[in-house]
Amino acid sequence: MRVRARGEDWRREVERGAEEILQALSRSLEALPAEEETYYLPEFPRALREDGKPSSEGERAAFRKRLLSLAPSRDEEGNLRSEAAGWAR
């Protein structure tokens, strides 16, 4: 059952349950020995990766068309219309 169909009370109940599960999971790790944290598995992430080959003009035009077909709003010239966030004004 989806959230919208179930209503706010149900959403709050799931969120309350989530917090309880979280505390239970967290408690089970309390007594374990301290270690370094493992954030990423590869030992040498390639932060400076190579640049790929630029796509052709034709590929870019086709991609643009596909992207705009998903966009919610466009202007008369076919440009993506976006809205500035309230906090940025």
Binding site: G17, A18, L25, S28, L32, Y40, R66, P72
Partner: protein, 451 residues
């Protein structure tokens, strides 16, 4: 006909790529209404198969030469819907091919369609899709497992030759076990994640499902290897596996912690297979992963934070449906857990602690792999429940007890059918060190051949 037999028929011209595709489309037409394994079929599949036939005619069929591949709905395939089985992405049509799809097409694979899954891969049963649950063709009435439920069901029902799934905490291995097919979670960083819609970016891997171990190996040889555009990849150009080697003399580990919480009937099936490996000349040794029982807690803390972060990309949209308004219960629960941790993490109580446990688990697996070459054991600690049966969240999470450690440690792990309990398939899990795919595939092949 196994994967190699099919490939031979396609290459020799005994079967065309179009005929192969049409046979599957007929079966899908008959069976998908009940199974719900596919969410969308590729309208261009026939055209693509014709092109592969022309390539085969020119001697350029590629390694897949017209084999039909199903794709989980969290992987981008140009022009098809990558919905993640969620209402929030139901109108999203992929604008590009994921790197693994580019590689499959290059090798002559034909994408037949997008498969069902647990919503945003948050689940282990295949029931939480916004588009309805997936059936289990090998055990009708029972869950197929998840989250790659549709991919496993499609392979098990003979609706495709091969399938792609993704595995963050067991999402390939769990449904492979419940549906009685083969599945592989590759070493983290071996298969490109470009074009995959994240669940947990530090844990996710795309991997193959197939009716046999040769199928897994073949698809891995097509999709694995460094993608220059990705940072989190291993320095491995391409892979090639030899499966027919002898397992005699191989050091194989069994771990008591794998069987402690596992249904004795499942342990019995697995023990018979371990005995078979002994008969083949393998040396079986007991090793310990002392903190295995804590892996599940660490996994759910990490994946909740990473999933919460991944879903923020859908935040603030003024179109479509907001994820928190249309998602199902498990997605909402994980968003709530991730949000809570993100707000309360200042004492390092949750995420940081879980990352420390991950280090401990990595060290324990590394230590085990200094003594043995692979570890074998059960895949899922309990038999699948009946479709629709209500389980508490913690009961559902318990399905992942034996699969999440491999994701935390970043190692490779595969599953092949070991037997049945009351007509329900049971898979044996073979885990290996980072880049130990050839070893685990070889053990899986030996188990499959001796079945």
């Amino acid at each position: 006909m196994g994967t190699l037999g099919k490939l031979q028929a396609l290459r020799s011209g005994e079967l065309s790529a179009v005929e192969n595709l049409e046979r599957f489309l007929e079966r899908i037409e008959k069976m998908n209404r009940e199974l719900n394994a596919f969410l969308q079929l590729n309208p261009r599949a026939r055209e693509e198969a014709e092109e592969v036939d022309r390539r085969i005619g020119r001697g350029e069929g590629g390694r897949l030469s017209g084999l039909v591949v199903a794709v989980k709905s969290n992987i981008n395939v140009l022009g098809l819907r990558a919905t993640c089985a969620s209402r929030t992405l139901e109108d999203y049509v992929s604008t590009y091919d994921a790197e693994v799809i580019t590689r499959i097409r290059r090798e002559g694979g034909v994408v037949v369609g997008m498969t069902n899954m647990d919503e945003f891969a948050c689940g282990s049963s295949g029931e939480s899709s916004a588009f309805g649950p997936t059936g289990n063709p090998s055990a009708p009435g029972y869950i197929p497992g998840g989250s790659s439920s549709g991919s496993a069901a499609a392979v098990a029902a003979g609706l495709c030759d091969l399938a792609l799934g993704t595995d963050t905490g067991g999402s390939i291995r769990n449904p492979a076990s419940h549906c009685g097919v083969a599945g592989l979670k590759p070493t983290y960083g071996l298969v490109p994640r470009h074009g995959l819609i994240d669940l947990g970016m530090s844990l996710d891997q795309i991997g193959p499902l197939a009716p046999d171990v040769h199928g897994l190996s073949l698809l891995m040889e097509c999709i694995a290897g460094k993608n220059p555009g990705e940072g989190m990849m291993l320095e491995v150009e391409r892979v090639s596996y030899e499966l027919e080697g002898d397992v005699g003399g191989m050091r194989i580990g069994v771990c008591p912690q794998f069987s402690f919480l596992t249904d004795p009937r499942i342990n019995e099936v697995v023990e018979r297979k371990v005995e078979r490996l002994r008969e083949l000349g393998a040396e079986v040794e007991e090793v310990s992963i002392p903190h295995l029982e804590h892996a599940l807690s660490a996994y759910y803390l990490i994946v909740s934070v990473e999933f919460f972060s991944a879903t923020r990309r859908y935040d603030g949209r003024k179109y479509g449906k907001r994820i928190e308004e249309v998602c199902g219960e498990e997605v909402l629960r994980r968003i709530a857990m991730g949000s809570y941790i993100s707000r309360k993490e200042y004492r390092g109580k949750y995420y940081q602690r879980a990352l420390q446990l991950r280090t401990l688990i990595r060290k324990e697996f590394s230590s085990a792999f200094r003594r043995v070459e692979v570890l074998v054991g059960p895949t899922v600690p309990k038999l699948p429940h009946r479709l629709g049966q209500k389980l508490s969240p913690l009961e559902m999470y318990a399905y992942d007890y034996l699969t999440v450690p491999a994701n935390l440690a970043g190692i490779c792990a595969g599953v092949v059918k070991a037997g049945e309990v009351g007509g329900i398939p049971v898979g044996i899990q073979v885990q290996g060190p980072p880049l130990g795919e050839e070893k685990i595939l070889r053990v899986m092949r030996a188990l499959e051949a001796g079945a």
